[in-house]
Protein backbone atom coordinates (compact mmCIF):
# COMPACT_ATOMS: atom_id res chain seq x y z
CA UNK A 1 0.00 0.00 0.00
CA UNK A 2 1.64 3.19 -1.20
CA UNK A 3 0.64 5.82 1.41
CA UNK A 4 2.43 8.55 -0.48
CA UNK A 5 0.46 7.81 -3.64
CA UNK A 6 -2.72 7.68 -1.56
CA UNK A 7 -2.03 11.14 -0.23
CA UNK A 8 -1.31 12.53 -3.71
CA UNK A 9 -4.64 11.20 -4.94
CA UNK A 10 -6.40 12.50 -1.84
CA UNK A 11 -4.85 15.94 -2.39
CA UNK A 12 -6.14 15.85 -5.96
CA UNK A 13 -9.63 15.00 -4.72
CA UNK A 14 -9.50 17.87 -2.22
CA UNK A 15 -8.11 20.32 -4.78
CA UNK A 16 -4.93 20.78 -2.77
CA UNK A 17 -2.45 20.17 -5.59
CA UNK A 18 -0.46 22.73 -7.50
CA UNK A 19 -1.47 22.96 -11.14
CA UNK A 20 1.67 21.07 -12.17
CA UNK A 21 1.01 18.22 -9.74
CA UNK A 22 -2.60 18.11 -10.87
CA UNK A 23 -1.69 17.83 -14.53
CA UNK A 24 0.83 15.07 -13.78
CA UNK A 25 -1.73 13.08 -11.83
CA UNK A 26 -4.45 13.57 -14.44
CA UNK A 27 -2.10 12.31 -17.14
CA UNK A 28 -1.27 9.21 -15.06
CA UNK A 29 -4.93 8.51 -14.42
CA UNK A 30 -5.99 9.15 -18.01
CA UNK A 31 -3.62 6.40 -19.09
CA UNK A 32 -5.76 3.93 -17.12
CA UNK A 33 -4.39 1.25 -14.82
CA UNK A 34 -4.99 0.34 -11.19
CA UNK A 35 -4.72 3.89 -9.85
CA UNK A 36 -7.64 4.95 -12.04
CA UNK A 37 -9.83 2.36 -10.36
CA UNK A 38 -8.65 3.45 -6.91
CA UNK A 39 -9.28 7.09 -7.75
CA UNK A 40 -12.72 6.34 -9.21
CA UNK A 41 -13.71 4.19 -6.23
CA UNK A 42 -12.56 6.82 -3.74
CA UNK A 43 -14.21 9.67 -5.63
CA UNK A 44 -17.49 7.81 -6.07
CA UNK A 45 -17.87 6.70 -2.45
CA UNK A 46 -16.70 10.05 -1.13
CA UNK A 47 -19.23 11.83 -3.29
CA UNK A 48 -21.97 9.49 -2.09
CA UNK A 49 -20.89 9.98 1.52
CA UNK A 50 -20.85 13.76 1.21
CA UNK A 51 -24.27 13.82 -0.38
CA UNK A 52 -25.68 11.72 2.45
CA UNK A 53 -24.02 13.95 5.03
CA UNK A 54 -25.30 17.07 3.32
CA UNK A 55 -28.81 15.63 3.11
CA UNK A 56 -28.63 14.93 6.83
CA UNK A 57 -27.46 18.49 7.40
CA UNK A 58 -24.13 17.37 8.82
CA UNK A 59 -21.79 19.39 6.60
CA UNK A 60 -22.10 21.67 3.58
CA UNK A 61 -22.21 19.80 0.28
CA UNK A 62 -19.28 21.44 -1.41
CA UNK A 63 -16.26 20.08 0.46
CA UNK A 64 -15.27 17.85 3.36
CA UNK A 65 -14.03 19.64 6.44
CA UNK A 66 -10.29 19.83 6.50
CA UNK A 67 -8.95 18.30 9.68
CA UNK A 68 -5.79 18.96 11.61
CA UNK A 69 -3.49 16.09 10.67
CA UNK A 70 -0.79 14.44 12.75
CA UNK A 71 2.54 15.75 11.55
CA UNK A 72 5.25 13.40 12.80
CA UNK A 73 7.47 14.11 9.80
CA UNK A 74 7.19 17.88 10.00
CA UNK A 75 10.65 19.41 10.35
CA UNK A 76 10.30 23.18 10.26
CA UNK A 77 13.94 24.17 10.55
CA UNK A 78 14.86 22.32 7.37
CA UNK A 79 12.21 23.86 5.13
CA UNK A 80 12.56 27.21 6.76
CA UNK A 81 16.21 27.26 5.76
CA UNK A 82 15.31 26.09 2.26
CA UNK A 83 12.56 28.69 2.02
CA UNK A 84 14.89 31.50 3.03
CA UNK A 85 17.56 30.21 0.65
CA UNK A 86 15.02 30.03 -2.17
CA UNK A 87 13.93 33.56 -1.34
CA UNK A 88 17.49 34.82 -1.54
CA UNK A 89 17.95 33.10 -4.90
CA UNK A 90 14.77 34.73 -6.14
CA UNK A 91 15.94 38.14 -4.95
CA UNK A 92 19.43 37.75 -6.41
CA UNK A 93 17.93 36.63 -9.69
CA UNK A 94 15.78 39.71 -9.73
CA UNK A 95 12.71 37.52 -9.79
CA UNK A 96 10.39 39.86 -8.02
CA UNK A 97 7.31 38.85 -9.98
CA UNK A 98 4.41 36.70 -8.86
CA UNK A 99 5.25 33.55 -10.72
CA UNK A 100 6.94 30.38 -9.48
CA UNK A 101 5.35 26.95 -9.77
CA UNK A 102 2.27 28.01 -11.62
CA UNK A 103 0.89 29.85 -8.64
CA UNK A 104 -1.30 32.92 -9.00
CA UNK A 105 -4.98 33.66 -9.34
CA UNK A 106 -5.89 29.97 -9.62
CA UNK A 107 -4.22 29.17 -6.31
CA UNK A 108 -5.85 32.15 -4.65
CA UNK A 109 -9.25 31.01 -5.91
CA UNK A 110 -8.48 27.55 -4.54
CA UNK A 111 -7.88 29.22 -1.17
CA UNK A 112 -11.35 30.71 -1.33
CA UNK A 113 -12.78 27.27 -2.02
CA UNK A 114 -11.35 25.89 1.21
CA UNK A 115 -14.00 24.61 3.59
CA UNK A 116 -15.60 27.40 5.60
CA UNK A 117 -14.38 27.05 9.17
CA UNK A 118 -15.59 30.37 10.49
CA UNK A 119 -13.35 33.08 11.84
CA UNK A 120 -11.09 31.81 14.64
CA UNK A 121 -11.44 33.34 18.08
CA UNK A 122 -9.20 36.33 18.64
CA UNK A 123 -9.04 37.42 15.01
CA UNK A 124 -10.14 40.99 14.50
CA UNK A 125 -11.85 41.44 11.15
CA UNK A 126 -11.01 44.57 9.14
CA UNK A 127 -7.88 45.45 11.15
CA UNK A 128 -7.53 48.55 8.99
CA UNK A 129 -10.51 50.05 10.83
CA UNK A 130 -14.18 50.27 10.03
CA UNK A 131 -14.04 53.63 8.30
CA UNK A 132 -11.16 52.85 5.97
CA UNK A 133 -11.85 52.08 2.38
CA UNK A 134 -14.83 54.38 1.88
CA UNK A 135 -14.21 56.30 -1.27
CA UNK A 136 -10.67 55.00 -1.47
CA UNK A 137 -9.16 53.84 -4.69
CA UNK A 138 -6.12 51.86 -5.60
CA UNK A 139 -4.09 49.16 -3.97
CA UNK A 140 -5.36 49.44 -0.40
CA UNK A 141 -8.96 49.22 -1.48
CA UNK A 142 -8.27 46.08 -3.53
CA UNK A 143 -6.42 44.44 -0.65
CA UNK A 144 -9.51 45.10 1.46
CA UNK A 145 -11.65 43.62 -1.30
CA UNK A 146 -9.63 40.40 -1.25
CA UNK A 147 -9.70 40.16 2.52
CA UNK A 148 -13.45 40.70 2.67
CA UNK A 149 -14.03 38.14 -0.13
CA UNK A 150 -12.18 35.64 2.06
CA UNK A 151 -14.32 36.67 5.03
CA UNK A 152 -17.55 36.01 3.08
CA UNK A 153 -16.42 32.49 2.20
CA UNK A 154 -15.09 31.62 5.65
CA UNK A 155 -18.04 33.06 7.55
CA UNK A 156 -20.69 31.45 5.33
CA UNK A 157 -22.69 28.95 7.32
CA UNK A 158 -21.09 30.06 10.60
CA UNK A 159 -22.05 33.67 11.27
CA UNK A 160 -24.60 35.04 8.84
CA UNK A 161 -24.55 38.55 10.28
CA UNK A 162 -20.80 38.87 9.87
CA UNK A 163 -20.91 37.15 6.46
CA UNK A 164 -23.58 39.61 5.28
CA UNK A 165 -21.51 42.53 6.55
CA UNK A 166 -18.51 41.23 4.61
CA UNK A 167 -20.64 40.80 1.48
CA UNK A 168 -21.91 44.38 1.90
CA UNK A 169 -18.32 45.62 2.03
CA UNK A 170 -17.46 43.64 -1.10
CA UNK A 171 -20.44 45.15 -2.94
CA UNK A 172 -19.36 48.63 -1.81
CA UNK A 173 -15.74 48.11 -2.79
CA UNK A 174 -16.81 46.93 -6.25
CA UNK A 175 -19.17 49.80 -6.94
CA UNK A 176 -18.38 52.12 -9.84
CA UNK A 177 -15.99 49.65 -11.47
CA UNK A 178 -18.18 48.35 -14.29
CA UNK A 179 -18.89 45.38 -12.07
CA UNK A 180 -22.61 45.83 -11.54
CA UNK A 181 -23.67 42.16 -11.79
CA UNK A 182 -20.92 41.10 -9.40
CA UNK A 183 -21.64 43.92 -6.97
CA UNK A 184 -25.34 43.04 -7.19
CA UNK A 185 -24.61 39.41 -6.32
CA UNK A 186 -22.78 40.47 -3.17
CA UNK A 187 -25.45 43.06 -2.44
CA UNK A 188 -28.04 40.28 -2.59
CA UNK A 189 -25.96 38.15 -0.24
CA UNK A 190 -25.68 41.07 2.14
CA UNK A 191 -29.44 41.44 2.34
CA UNK A 192 -30.21 37.75 2.84
CA UNK A 193 -28.75 34.52 4.11
CA UNK A 194 -25.26 33.72 2.85
CA UNK A 195 -25.47 30.03 1.82
CA UNK A 196 -23.01 27.56 3.40
CA UNK A 197 -21.12 27.31 0.10
CA UNK A 198 -20.50 31.09 0.04
CA UNK A 199 -20.87 33.21 -3.07
CA UNK A 200 -21.22 31.82 -6.59
CA UNK A 201 -17.61 30.89 -7.57
CA UNK A 202 -17.97 32.63 -10.93
CA UNK A 203 -18.77 35.96 -9.24
CA UNK A 204 -15.94 35.46 -6.78
CA UNK A 205 -13.53 34.83 -9.64
CA UNK A 206 -14.74 37.99 -11.40
CA UNK A 207 -14.38 40.03 -8.21
CA UNK A 208 -10.79 38.84 -7.79
CA UNK A 209 -10.06 39.70 -11.41
CA UNK A 210 -11.37 43.22 -10.86
CA UNK A 211 -9.19 43.64 -7.81
CA UNK A 212 -6.10 42.21 -9.52
CA UNK A 213 -2.94 41.26 -7.64
CA UNK A 214 -3.84 43.44 -4.69
CA UNK A 215 -7.09 41.53 -4.19
CA UNK A 216 -5.22 38.22 -4.46
CA UNK A 217 -2.86 39.52 -1.81
CA UNK A 218 -5.79 40.47 0.41
CA UNK A 219 -7.22 36.96 0.14
CA UNK A 220 -3.91 35.36 1.08
CA UNK A 221 -3.29 37.78 3.94
CA UNK A 222 -6.72 37.13 5.46
CA UNK A 223 -6.44 33.37 5.10
CA UNK A 224 -2.92 33.53 6.54
CA UNK A 225 -4.27 35.39 9.59
CA UNK A 226 -6.88 32.68 10.10
CA UNK A 227 -4.28 29.94 9.65
CA UNK A 228 -1.97 31.61 12.16
CA UNK A 229 -4.80 31.85 14.67
CA UNK A 230 -5.41 28.12 14.21
CA UNK A 231 -1.65 27.43 14.35
CA UNK A 232 -1.97 25.68 11.01
CA UNK A 233 1.54 25.12 9.67
CA UNK A 234 0.19 23.30 6.61
CA UNK A 235 -1.18 26.55 5.20
CA UNK A 236 2.25 28.14 5.29
CA UNK A 237 3.84 25.13 3.56
CA UNK A 238 1.68 25.46 0.43
CA UNK A 239 3.49 26.53 -2.73
CA UNK A 240 1.47 29.75 -2.81
CA UNK A 241 2.46 30.69 0.74
CA UNK A 242 6.10 29.75 0.18
CA UNK A 243 6.20 31.90 -2.95
CA UNK A 244 4.82 34.89 -1.08
CA UNK A 245 7.04 34.40 1.96
CA UNK A 246 10.04 33.97 -0.36
CA UNK A 247 9.45 37.33 -1.99
CA UNK A 248 7.72 36.13 -5.14
CA UNK A 249 4.47 37.94 -4.39
CA UNK A 250 3.38 40.73 -6.71
CA UNK A 251 6.03 43.45 -6.74
CA UNK A 252 3.42 46.18 -7.02
CA UNK A 253 1.93 45.20 -3.67
CA UNK A 254 4.79 43.82 -1.65
CA UNK A 255 7.68 46.01 -2.81
CA UNK A 256 8.32 47.45 0.63
CA UNK A 257 7.30 44.40 2.61
CA UNK A 258 9.59 41.60 1.51
CA UNK A 259 11.81 41.71 4.57
CA UNK A 260 8.73 41.51 6.78
CA UNK A 261 7.41 38.55 4.83
CA UNK A 262 10.71 36.70 5.17
CA UNK A 263 10.65 37.43 8.89
CA UNK A 264 7.14 35.93 9.12
CA UNK A 265 8.40 32.88 7.23
CA UNK A 266 11.20 32.46 9.76
CA UNK A 267 8.76 32.77 12.67
CA UNK A 268 6.52 30.07 11.21
CA UNK A 269 9.54 27.90 10.48
CA UNK A 270 11.08 28.18 13.93
CA UNK A 271 10.85 25.29 16.39
CA UNK A 272 8.22 25.65 17.74
CA UNK A 273 6.55 28.23 15.49
CA UNK A 274 6.23 31.63 17.16
CA UNK A 275 2.52 31.92 16.48
CA UNK A 276 1.81 34.96 18.64
CA UNK A 277 4.45 36.96 16.77
CA UNK A 278 3.18 35.66 13.43
CA UNK A 279 -0.33 36.84 14.27
CA UNK A 280 0.83 40.29 15.29
CA UNK A 281 3.05 40.65 12.23
CA UNK A 282 0.28 39.57 9.83
CA UNK A 283 -2.26 41.93 11.41
CA UNK A 284 0.19 44.77 11.15
CA UNK A 285 1.10 43.95 7.55
CA UNK A 286 -2.55 43.72 6.44
CA UNK A 287 -3.27 47.03 8.17
CA UNK A 288 -0.45 48.68 6.19
CA UNK A 289 -1.31 47.07 2.85
CA UNK A 290 -5.02 47.82 3.14
CA UNK A 291 -4.53 51.46 4.04
Amino acid sequence: MDASKAERLAALLDGNCTERERQELLAELAAGGDDLEVFADAAAVLHEHEEEEAAAGVIPLHRPVREQPPRPRWKPPRWAKLAVAAGLVALIGGGLLWRGRGTGAGDVLALLEQPALGVPAGVRLKPWGASRGDGEAGKGRDVQLGARLADVEQLAGHDNQAASAAARDVARLLRGRHADPVARQYGDLASGIVPPGGADPEFTRRAIELGGKAAETGVWMEMARFAAAREDSVFFRSSLSLDILNGKGPASVFETERAELRRIGEMVGSEPPRWAEVRTALDSLLRRLAS
Partner: protein, 259 residues
Protein backbone atom coordinates in the same frame (compact mmCIF):
# COMPACT_ATOMS: atom_id res chain seq x y z
CA UNK B 1 1.74 13.41 17.22
CA UNK B 2 4.14 10.50 17.62
CA UNK B 3 2.75 8.50 20.54
CA UNK B 4 1.10 5.26 19.35
CA UNK B 5 -1.78 6.07 21.73
CA UNK B 6 -2.48 9.20 19.67
CA UNK B 7 -2.73 7.19 16.46
CA UNK B 8 -4.85 4.55 18.19
CA UNK B 9 -7.20 7.30 19.33
CA UNK B 10 -7.24 8.83 15.85
CA UNK B 11 -8.14 5.47 14.32
CA UNK B 12 -10.76 4.81 16.97
CA UNK B 13 -12.29 8.21 16.32
CA UNK B 14 -12.56 7.48 12.59
CA UNK B 15 -13.76 3.87 12.85
CA UNK B 16 -17.41 4.72 12.09
CA UNK B 17 -16.28 6.60 8.99
CA UNK B 18 -14.01 3.72 7.96
CA UNK B 19 -16.84 1.20 8.33
CA UNK B 20 -19.18 3.37 6.31
CA UNK B 21 -16.73 3.93 3.47
CA UNK B 22 -15.73 0.25 3.46
CA UNK B 23 -19.40 -0.74 3.13
CA UNK B 24 -19.85 1.65 0.21
CA UNK B 25 -16.76 0.31 -1.52
CA UNK B 26 -17.92 -3.25 -1.09
CA UNK B 27 -21.39 -2.35 -2.35
CA UNK B 28 -19.84 -0.77 -5.43
CA UNK B 29 -18.03 -4.02 -6.13
CA UNK B 30 -20.95 -6.32 -5.48
CA UNK B 31 -19.71 -7.92 -2.25
CA UNK B 32 -22.24 -9.52 0.05
CA UNK B 33 -22.61 -8.54 3.75
CA UNK B 34 -20.27 -11.31 5.03
CA UNK B 35 -17.58 -10.32 2.57
CA UNK B 36 -18.07 -6.68 3.52
CA UNK B 37 -17.51 -7.50 7.20
CA UNK B 38 -14.45 -9.53 6.30
CA UNK B 39 -12.96 -6.72 4.23
CA UNK B 40 -13.65 -4.12 6.92
CA UNK B 41 -11.85 -6.20 9.57
CA UNK B 42 -8.99 -6.93 7.20
CA UNK B 43 -8.59 -3.28 6.21
CA UNK B 44 -8.71 -2.08 9.83
CA UNK B 45 -5.96 -4.55 10.71
CA UNK B 46 -3.85 -3.14 7.86
CA UNK B 47 -4.29 0.36 9.30
CA UNK B 48 -3.09 -0.81 12.72
CA UNK B 49 -0.10 -2.85 11.54
CA UNK B 50 3.44 -1.48 11.62
CA UNK B 51 2.49 0.71 14.53
CA UNK B 52 -0.17 2.60 12.54
CA UNK B 53 2.34 2.99 9.70
CA UNK B 54 -0.16 4.33 7.16
CA UNK B 55 -1.47 7.03 9.51
CA UNK B 56 2.08 7.99 10.46
CA UNK B 57 2.88 8.66 6.82
CA UNK B 58 0.01 11.11 6.44
CA UNK B 59 1.47 14.60 5.89
CA UNK B 60 -1.75 16.59 5.86
CA UNK B 61 -1.93 17.43 2.16
CA UNK B 62 -5.63 16.56 2.19
CA UNK B 63 -8.44 16.09 4.67
CA UNK B 64 -7.78 12.98 6.76
CA UNK B 65 -11.15 11.54 5.71
CA UNK B 66 -10.23 11.91 2.04
CA UNK B 67 -6.88 10.24 2.69
CA UNK B 68 -8.59 7.37 4.53
CA UNK B 69 -11.04 6.94 1.66
CA UNK B 70 -8.23 6.60 -0.88
CA UNK B 71 -6.33 4.27 1.46
CA UNK B 72 -9.41 2.06 1.82
CA UNK B 73 -9.83 1.99 -1.96
CA UNK B 74 -6.21 0.87 -2.31
CA UNK B 75 -6.68 -1.71 0.43
CA UNK B 76 -9.79 -2.98 -1.32
CA UNK B 77 -7.72 -3.57 -4.45
CA UNK B 78 -5.14 -5.50 -2.37
CA UNK B 79 -7.86 -7.46 -0.61
CA UNK B 80 -9.49 -8.46 -3.89
CA UNK B 81 -6.17 -9.72 -5.27
CA UNK B 82 -5.54 -11.60 -2.01
CA UNK B 83 -8.99 -13.23 -2.06
CA UNK B 84 -9.69 -13.72 -5.73
CA UNK B 85 -6.49 -13.02 -7.65
CA UNK B 86 -6.75 -10.32 -10.30
CA UNK B 87 -10.49 -10.87 -10.76
CA UNK B 88 -12.60 -7.74 -10.87
CA UNK B 89 -16.00 -6.92 -12.31
CA UNK B 90 -15.88 -6.04 -15.99
CA UNK B 91 -16.20 -2.46 -17.17
CA UNK B 92 -19.45 -3.44 -18.85
CA UNK B 93 -20.91 -4.80 -15.59
CA UNK B 94 -19.84 -1.72 -13.64
CA UNK B 95 -21.29 0.50 -16.33
CA UNK B 96 -24.59 -1.32 -16.01
CA UNK B 97 -24.68 -0.87 -12.25
CA UNK B 98 -24.83 -2.93 -9.04
CA UNK B 99 -27.27 -5.58 -10.34
CA UNK B 100 -24.99 -6.47 -13.23
CA UNK B 101 -21.92 -6.37 -10.98
CA UNK B 102 -23.50 -8.77 -8.47
CA UNK B 103 -24.74 -11.10 -11.18
CA UNK B 104 -21.39 -11.24 -12.93
CA UNK B 105 -19.57 -11.72 -9.63
CA UNK B 106 -21.78 -14.62 -8.61
CA UNK B 107 -21.46 -16.38 -11.95
CA UNK B 108 -17.88 -15.74 -12.93
CA UNK B 109 -16.14 -15.32 -9.61
CA UNK B 110 -18.12 -17.56 -7.28
CA UNK B 111 -19.12 -20.23 -9.80
CA UNK B 112 -22.91 -20.15 -9.47
CA UNK B 113 -24.88 -21.14 -12.56
CA UNK B 114 -26.77 -18.27 -14.11
CA UNK B 115 -30.09 -19.73 -12.94
CA UNK B 116 -28.81 -20.12 -9.36
CA UNK B 117 -27.44 -16.57 -9.35
CA UNK B 118 -30.69 -15.12 -10.65
CA UNK B 119 -32.71 -17.09 -8.09
CA UNK B 120 -30.44 -16.04 -5.24
CA UNK B 121 -30.43 -12.37 -6.17
CA UNK B 122 -34.19 -12.31 -6.39
CA UNK B 123 -34.88 -14.41 -3.28
CA UNK B 124 -32.47 -12.32 -1.17
CA UNK B 125 -34.14 -9.15 -2.39
CA UNK B 126 -30.83 -7.87 -3.79
CA UNK B 127 -32.49 -6.74 -7.00
CA UNK B 128 -35.78 -5.36 -8.20
CA UNK B 129 -35.25 -6.69 -11.72
CA UNK B 130 -37.34 -9.53 -13.12
CA UNK B 131 -35.85 -12.90 -13.99
CA UNK B 132 -36.10 -12.06 -17.67
CA UNK B 133 -34.39 -8.70 -17.22
CA UNK B 134 -31.53 -10.34 -15.36
CA UNK B 135 -31.06 -12.95 -18.11
CA UNK B 136 -31.08 -10.22 -20.74
CA UNK B 137 -28.58 -8.19 -18.78
CA UNK B 138 -26.28 -11.18 -18.45
CA UNK B 139 -26.34 -11.57 -22.23
CA UNK B 140 -24.67 -8.18 -22.54
CA UNK B 141 -21.82 -9.02 -20.17
CA UNK B 142 -18.47 -10.20 -21.53
CA UNK B 143 -17.58 -13.87 -21.19
CA UNK B 144 -15.17 -14.53 -18.32
CA UNK B 145 -13.29 -17.49 -16.87
CA UNK B 146 -15.58 -19.09 -14.31
CA UNK B 147 -15.03 -19.75 -10.63
CA UNK B 148 -16.12 -22.93 -8.83
CA UNK B 149 -19.06 -22.79 -6.48
CA UNK B 150 -17.92 -22.54 -2.88
CA UNK B 151 -14.42 -21.37 -3.70
CA UNK B 152 -13.35 -18.23 -1.98
CA UNK B 153 -9.65 -18.06 -2.73
CA UNK B 154 -7.53 -18.19 -5.85
CA UNK B 155 -9.12 -21.52 -6.70
CA UNK B 156 -12.12 -19.55 -7.80
CA UNK B 157 -10.17 -18.63 -10.88
CA UNK B 158 -10.25 -22.01 -12.62
CA UNK B 159 -10.15 -21.42 -16.32
CA UNK B 160 -12.36 -24.31 -17.37
CA UNK B 161 -15.97 -23.34 -17.76
CA UNK B 162 -18.45 -25.38 -15.75
CA UNK B 163 -20.71 -27.69 -17.78
CA UNK B 164 -23.76 -25.61 -16.97
CA UNK B 165 -22.10 -22.60 -18.54
CA UNK B 166 -21.14 -24.27 -21.79
CA UNK B 167 -24.15 -23.08 -23.74
CA UNK B 168 -23.79 -19.58 -22.49
CA UNK B 169 -20.09 -19.64 -23.35
CA UNK B 170 -20.79 -20.65 -26.92
CA UNK B 171 -23.33 -17.91 -27.24
CA UNK B 172 -20.86 -15.38 -25.95
CA UNK B 173 -17.70 -16.48 -27.77
CA UNK B 174 -18.27 -14.70 -31.03
CA UNK B 175 -19.47 -11.54 -29.37
CA UNK B 176 -16.41 -11.62 -27.11
CA UNK B 177 -13.96 -11.67 -30.01
CA UNK B 178 -15.71 -8.70 -31.53
CA UNK B 179 -15.74 -6.95 -28.17
CA UNK B 180 -11.93 -7.34 -27.93
CA UNK B 181 -11.51 -5.68 -31.30
CA UNK B 182 -13.87 -2.87 -30.34
CA UNK B 183 -12.05 -2.35 -27.05
CA UNK B 184 -8.73 -1.98 -28.84
CA UNK B 185 -10.19 0.64 -31.16
CA UNK B 186 -11.81 2.30 -28.16
CA UNK B 187 -8.46 2.54 -26.37
CA UNK B 188 -6.93 4.21 -29.43
CA UNK B 189 -9.87 6.62 -29.68
CA UNK B 190 -9.35 7.58 -26.03
CA UNK B 191 -5.67 8.28 -26.64
CA UNK B 192 -6.73 10.80 -29.26
CA UNK B 193 -8.56 12.95 -26.71
CA UNK B 194 -7.01 15.71 -24.56
CA UNK B 195 -5.79 14.28 -21.22
CA UNK B 196 -8.55 15.63 -19.04
CA UNK B 197 -11.28 14.68 -21.54
CA UNK B 198 -9.87 11.15 -21.76
CA UNK B 199 -9.96 10.87 -17.99
CA UNK B 200 -13.52 12.18 -17.79
CA UNK B 201 -14.63 9.63 -20.40
CA UNK B 202 -12.82 6.80 -18.60
CA UNK B 203 -14.38 7.71 -15.26
CA UNK B 204 -17.85 7.99 -16.76
CA UNK B 205 -17.64 5.10 -19.14
CA UNK B 206 -15.31 2.51 -17.56
CA UNK B 207 -15.74 3.33 -13.90
CA UNK B 208 -19.46 4.11 -13.90
CA UNK B 209 -19.09 7.40 -12.05
CA UNK B 210 -21.86 9.97 -12.21
CA UNK B 211 -21.10 13.31 -13.85
CA UNK B 212 -21.70 14.98 -10.48
CA UNK B 213 -19.10 12.74 -8.82
CA UNK B 214 -16.61 13.37 -11.63
CA UNK B 215 -17.15 17.12 -11.34
CA UNK B 216 -16.50 16.94 -7.61
CA UNK B 217 -13.44 14.72 -8.01
CA UNK B 218 -11.77 16.86 -10.64
CA UNK B 219 -12.93 20.20 -9.26
CA UNK B 220 -14.83 21.01 -12.44
CA UNK B 221 -18.12 22.79 -12.93
CA UNK B 222 -20.85 20.20 -13.40
CA UNK B 223 -22.98 21.86 -16.08
CA UNK B 224 -20.18 22.56 -18.58
CA UNK B 225 -18.93 19.02 -17.94
CA UNK B 226 -22.04 17.55 -19.63
CA UNK B 227 -21.31 19.56 -22.76
CA UNK B 228 -17.64 18.65 -22.60
CA UNK B 229 -18.48 14.97 -22.27
CA UNK B 230 -20.86 15.25 -25.23
CA UNK B 231 -18.15 16.82 -27.35
CA UNK B 232 -15.59 14.16 -26.35
CA UNK B 233 -18.07 11.39 -27.11
CA UNK B 234 -18.93 12.92 -30.48
CA UNK B 235 -15.26 12.97 -31.33
CA UNK B 236 -14.83 9.38 -30.17
CA UNK B 237 -17.90 8.31 -32.09
CA UNK B 238 -16.42 9.78 -35.25
CA UNK B 239 -13.09 8.03 -34.68
CA UNK B 240 -14.76 4.72 -33.86
CA UNK B 241 -16.90 4.81 -36.97
CA UNK B 242 -13.87 5.75 -39.06
CA UNK B 243 -12.15 2.65 -37.63
CA UNK B 244 -14.93 0.41 -38.89
CA UNK B 245 -16.99 0.03 -35.74
CA UNK B 246 -20.62 -0.09 -36.77
CA UNK B 247 -22.97 2.69 -35.84
CA UNK B 248 -25.00 0.25 -33.73
CA UNK B 249 -21.91 -0.95 -31.83
CA UNK B 250 -20.85 2.61 -31.20
CA UNK B 251 -24.31 3.48 -29.92
CA UNK B 252 -24.22 0.44 -27.60
CA UNK B 253 -20.72 1.25 -26.38
CA UNK B 254 -21.50 4.84 -25.59
CA UNK B 255 -25.04 4.29 -24.37
CA UNK B 256 -24.09 4.57 -20.71
CA UNK B 257 -22.94 8.12 -21.23
CA UNK B 258 -25.93 9.32 -23.06
CA UNK B 259 -28.56 8.37 -20.52
Amino acid sequence: MSDPKDFAALLEQHLPFIRRIAAKLCGRHGLDPDETDDFTSWATARLVENDYGVLRKFRGDSALTTFLTVVLSMLYRDYRVWRWGRWRPSAEARRRGPDATRLETMVYRDGYSLAQAVDLLRSRGDTSLSERELYEMFGHLPMRARGRLGDSGDQALVTEPSPSAADQDLLHAEAEAERDRVNQVLARALEGLPTEDALVVRLRFFENMSVAAIARALELEQKPLYRRLDRALARMRMNLEAAGISRQQVAELLAGNEK
